[in-house]
Amino acid sequence: MSEFVQFCFSGLTVGAIYASVALGFTLIYNASGVINFSQGEFVVIGGMTTAVLIASGVPIWLAAPIAIIAAVIAGMTLYKLAIEPARGAPLVTLIIITIGASIFLRGLMQTVFDKQIHRYEGFSGEQSIAIFGAALLPQSIWILGGSLVVFVLLVWFLSRTKAGNAIRATSSDILAAKLAGINTNSTMMLAFALSAATGALAGVLATPVTFTSYDAGVLMALKGFAAMMLGGVGSPAGALIGGILIGLIEAFTAGYISSDYKDAAAFLVIFLVLFFMPGGLFGMVRVERV
């Protein structure tokens, strides 16, 4: 019993992180149809910047916002320098550009920071709480709470605000969005900025538990991608549920089978989803009438 609860706790914790990554994917996908494979690097920028600042004596409440702003600048720069000039190129080209950007960002972080593994202390200490004989880290509560807040804000933003509607309209039909008077360029830039902030926040919250290093973003992005595929591409609720499920599947695989297969679980899920349920759990099948 205590073992099972323990696996649930660790699954929920990493699952919430994957959910945040998947929510970042969802935002950019909803604006542009692009899957941004440098999403994992936003997470690492968040974690690394916070870690380095804390190590040099900056308090967490100041380090975290600086890290998020750094990621937002990275996200907007990525859009301005790499995506905007290639507007009108096929989606696959844009997606490959984001893979290139991810490699570039990794190199940049290796140079600006270092190749070490970093972490810092959890926000509410390291003393774990015992529940049903299992240990729950207080940081896990921060992570779960953080991704729930991000989810609620994102759903509210996309459905209730003018800028959110502009993002959905731009992805739905860019030509019609322009005709409606939407500045599609700045709308997409906003999506990249918010997505970077979402990713960086996940990094800030997760680093005390998961640790971080310049290349941690690759696996993070792939897991977030698996979460989004499982949940249904483009759906915020799908991203959240998909993330949590991937986290749980991973934790149970590691616990009951072998931790060697932990990472394989997420990719097995991608295969199964693509074969049997290409729309994912909450995916919409787009119908087009002619």
């Binding site: 003018k162 509607n165 502009a166 959905r168 309209a169 739905s172 039909d173 030509l175 019609a176 969005a177 322009k178 005709l179 409606a180 008077g181 939407i182 500045n183 599609t184 919409m284 787009r286 119908v287 087009e288 009438r289 002619v290």
Partner: protein
């Protein structure tokens, strides 16, 4: 209201409009007639900013349009219901209409939405459904309704009857007649030249990127060359 002179545009190296001179006066319905590929849609896209121009001038109430980004033109009162409808298929009907008023910040948006529902009652019935699930005719009504949400001074209608059953075509043209009574200025592109000329005040005939005829709708309808080429008579 709209003045175009010497307009040229190209897709890559291929020029498709070779110096168009064209005007629309306030309150007029003007139609563009021509075969597929003559450049009708390209000309409309130049006016609404979707297609950059390579030479010439477009001005709207003496404001130069050719240097203005696409998304600012709705604010001037130029609305475009594009060919192929381009509705926001994964959003509900009402959201589509609200987005038509994206550039507006006045308090009459809801009243205008109700006005569109009055014009197209079927949209009211389906206001909470995804627009992608509507029939072709309903999508066309939605595209026109969304364009009306701009509160247009100039309405561009590109092939509003394409692919629709005859009864729906009649309904769309009744709507155009209604809009004309309200004093709206309309540029209409239609495959069905006869119907278009019967609602229009004036017409232009476009052939391979050039205007070859222009004149009053009545004189175009009765012109033997046009009757033969476009009216199938």
């Amino acid at each position: 209201m709209l003045d175009i002179s010497g307009l040229k545009t190209a897709y890559g190296p291929i020029e498709v409009l070779h110096g168009i001179d064209f005007y629309i006066a306030e309150g007029e319905i003007v139609t563009l007639i021509g075969a597929n590929g003559a450049g009708k849609t390209s000309l409309m896209h130049c006016i609404s900013g979707l297609q950059p121009i390579t030479a010439g001038k477009i001005s709207f109430n003496d404001i130069p349009l050719h240097t203005m980004p696409d998304y600012k033109r709705a604010g001037l009162g130029i609305a475009h219901a594009p060919e192929g409808r381009h509705i926001f298929g994964d959003m509900i009907v009402e959201e589509n209409l609200t987005l038509g008023a994206y550039h507006r910040s006045d308090h009459e948006i809801q009243a205008d939405i109700d006005d569109v529902y009055k014009m197209f009652p079927v949209l009211y019935e389906k206001r909470h459904l995804h627009a992608g699930g509507l029939s072709g005719g309903q999508q066309q009504m939605l595209a026109i309704g969304r364009a009306l949400m701009v509160r247009p001074k100039l309405l561009l209608l590109d092939e509003p009857s394409m692919g629709l059953a005859p009864i729906l075509v009649d309904q769309i043209f009744e709507t155009i007649a209604l809009l004309r009574e309200r004093g709206m200025t309309i540029l209409l592109v239609e495959q069905n030249a006869y119907v278009a000329l019967s609602v229009a005040d004036r017409g232009y005939v476009l052939e391979t990127g050039k205007i070859v005829f222009s004149g009053d709708a009545d004189s175009l309808i009765n012109d033997p060359r046009i009757r033969e080429a476009y009216l199938g008579a």
